[in-house]
């Protein structure tokens, strides 16, 4: 499609607008993270003097919030990854069955997934708290991974079921006809086709687990399992009464970096996953 100069100008303008829309709040908290406590009230976007102090507070060996932030970061990464992994494995198996096999209750499984995905998380944290307390899952990784499955599993199933429906399964048979064993046929023909869908699903599930706040504040009590969004509520300023604006901003920036990296690397897959899994088939 040939573009006139005017059209090009329009597109550049639109792109700039979209970039401002999407990135401005990120830049805003980035700027805040470089401000000194006394600089916060300046009423200006950029810091008067730039400081690394807030980052030192959460990352440096003698930083006051380091013992709070680093374990939380470890927990967030570990718990989200494991919850994603389990959800994707379970969902892959289930979605394969849904896409390929005929069995009674298929609709029930999909409807349940839908029902769980609209479930108000807040409704179940209190009972979960009591159950976890009595069976020793409170404040453990497993105690968060299990409820996280209620967030990651439904969307993984929907997304993967949609992906699997598009896979040309006849390739598998064609390979078998060509003399490959079923295992080989599966590995050579199906895995390469299914892998992108599984990977995309994992990315989406990871974002969802990474985003959790309610389970995080309700089902943990120490840095043994507390994830980052919950840990932000534990930050403190230089003394008891001072607002932890700087430290929170710095921590917010640190946990946003992996998101931006993933988005930069995999924007095509994420878009494909969300659009195909969600509406198209």
């Amino acid at each position: 499609m040939a573009l006139t100069g005017r059209q090009k100008l329009w597109w550049v303008l639109i792109t700039v607008l979209v970039l401002v829309y999407a990135l401005f709040p990120v830049l805003s908290i980035l700027a805040t993270s470089f401000k000194l406590p006394g600089d916060l009230s300046s009423g200006r976007f950029l810091p008067t003097t730039w400081t690394w102090e807030n980052y030192a507070q959460i990352l440096a060996p003698d930083g006051s919030a380091r013992d709070l932030f680093l374990p939380a970061l470890r927990n967030s990464i570990g718990i989200s990854l494991i919850a994603t992994l389990i959800a994707v494995v379970l969902a892959t198996v289930a979605a394969y069955a849904i896409a390929r096999l005929d069995f009674p209750g298929k609709r029930l499984v999909l409807t349940t997934a839908l029902g769980v995905s609209i479930f108000p998380v807040i409704s179940i944290v209190t009972p979960l708290f009591n159950i976890w307390r009595s069976i020793g899952l409170y404040d453990t990784w497993a105690g968060l991974i299990i409820p996280y499955l209620s967030l990651t599993l439904p969307i993984s199933m929907w997304t993967l079921a949609a992906f699997f429906r598009q896979i040309p399964w006849e390739l598998e048979q064609a390979a078998q006809v060509d003399g490959a064993t079923p295992m080989q046929a599966f590995r050579k023909a199906i895995v390469p086709l299914a892998a992108p869908g599984v990977f995309t699903t994992a990315l989406i599930a990871f974002f969802i687990a990474w985003n959790d706040f309610v389970y995080g504040i309700s089902l943990t009590s120490t840095s043994a399992a507390r994830p980052v969004p919950a840990a932000l509520a534990f930050f403190t300023g230089e003394s008891y009464f001072e607002d932890p604006t700087g430290a929170i901003s710095a921590a917010a920036v640190v946990v946003t970096v992996p998101v931006i990296v993933l988005v930069l690397l995999f924007q095509r897959q994420i878009v494909a996953g969300l659009t195909q899994g969600a509406v198209k088939g």
Binding site: T15, G115, F119, I122, S150, V214, T245, I248, A278, K280
Partner: protein, 326 residues
């Protein structure tokens, strides 16, 4: 998976797998039975896990909601039947939370639909060289943690750490002295702004998928007939992606109805910004009134179910068709 690979797959339905057509076939054969067994076996773990982490706790919440339970007075528990529901349903606090939640839901979804459509059109039409950068940018809010978004917007507007007032003091009503988090309207404005910013990408991606389904020929034909862009949008594009729009709206509406993180971070419910999730949290976890809190939780759950039901019955949102296939 290796197991499944050897499973026989009827060649007839490889391209259009599953769905209703299949159940019409005779199902008594051994092969069909073993296929069904395998299917159940494979789908069962996910199914059981999903139920275990939601159904059991919600049943427990319902049982708790029938008693007066206060954690810090363990000896004073008593069975009150539906008494807690009577208290909740006759309380103006509950109804104010309900209206605020519905208000947030309606406004955010409406605004997101407009912005989301614009973003979807931009992504759909964008020239190749810009497509990557546009998609990347739009995905940033999608991936960001809601709590982080809440803090970003809060700090920008907060009277002591923000800069919005000094940037926009030329706007009528905005001045250096405007405290955004001191009244209902302005607090809700910032809360909704954060919510909209964070979740519009999701809705726009759903709409993008819908756009891809609009047959290009129709658009061309309309243009040849001399229709303006707006007419094309209204007469051709929108009608052809109704299903996608409905699904997007329903999903976001249910999501917005459960809003918690943004309110918790920014106002914690001050100035009439208490939403249902926050009320449930405050009652059962803040006040340790497990009975009352569980009643609010169950009502919240029922509201979500009701919205879903109304949408499906009244507006005929067909989730399975929209989600399932072409």
């Amino acid at each position: 998976m290796s197991h499944s690979a050897s499973g026989p797959a009827p060649a007839t339905d490889v391209n259009k797998p599953d769905r209703r057509g299949r159940s019409a076939r005779p199902r008594a054969s051994d092969r069909a039975r073993s296929e069904a067994r395998l299917g159940i076996l494979l789908a069962a773990p996910a199914f059981i896990v999903m139920l275990a982490v939601t159904l059991y706790p919600i049943v427990q919440a319902f049982i708790d909601s029938l008693s007066r339970i206060r954690l810090t007075a363990p000896d004073a528990n008593e069975f009150v039947g539906f008494g807690n529901y009577a208290v909740v349903l006759s309380d103006p606090v509950f109804w104010s939370a309900m209206w605020v939640t519905l208000f947030i839901m309606v406004v955010t979804v409406a605004v997101e639909l407009v912005i989301g459509f614009a973003l979807a059109l931009v992504m759909h039409r964008a020239i190749k060289s810009l497509r990557g950068i546009l998609r990347t940018a739009i995905l940033v809010p999608y991936g960001i943690i809601t709590v982080v978004s809440a803090f970003a917007w809060f700090y920008a507007f907060d009277i002591s750490s923000g800069y919005v007032n000094s940037w926009f003091d030329w706007v009528p009503g905005v001045s250096e002295d405007l405290n955004w988090f001191a009244s209902q309207g302005t607090s809700l404005f910032v809360i909704m702004a954060s919510e909209i910013w964070k979740t519009t990408p999701f809705i726009s991606l759903l709409l993008l998928a819908g756009l891809a389904q609009v047959p290009g020929e129709l658009e061309e034909a309309a243009k040849v007939d001399g229709a303006t862009s707006w007419q094309v949008f209204k007469r051709v594009i929108v009608p052809n992606m109704k299903a996608a729009i409905m699904v997007a709206v329903l999903f976001r509406a249910l999501d917005a109805f459960r809003i918690f993180d943004n309110v918790f971070v920014m106002t914690n419910g001050a100035n009439g910004t208490t939403v249902l999730s926050l009320l449930a949290y405050r009652t059962s976890i803040g006040r340790l009134e497990i009975g009352l809190g569980s009643a609010v939780s169950v009502l919240l759950f029922l509201s979500v179910v009701l919205i879903c039901f109304v949408a499906i019955k009244l507006f005929k949102v067909d989730l399975s068709s929209a989600r399932g296939g072409n």
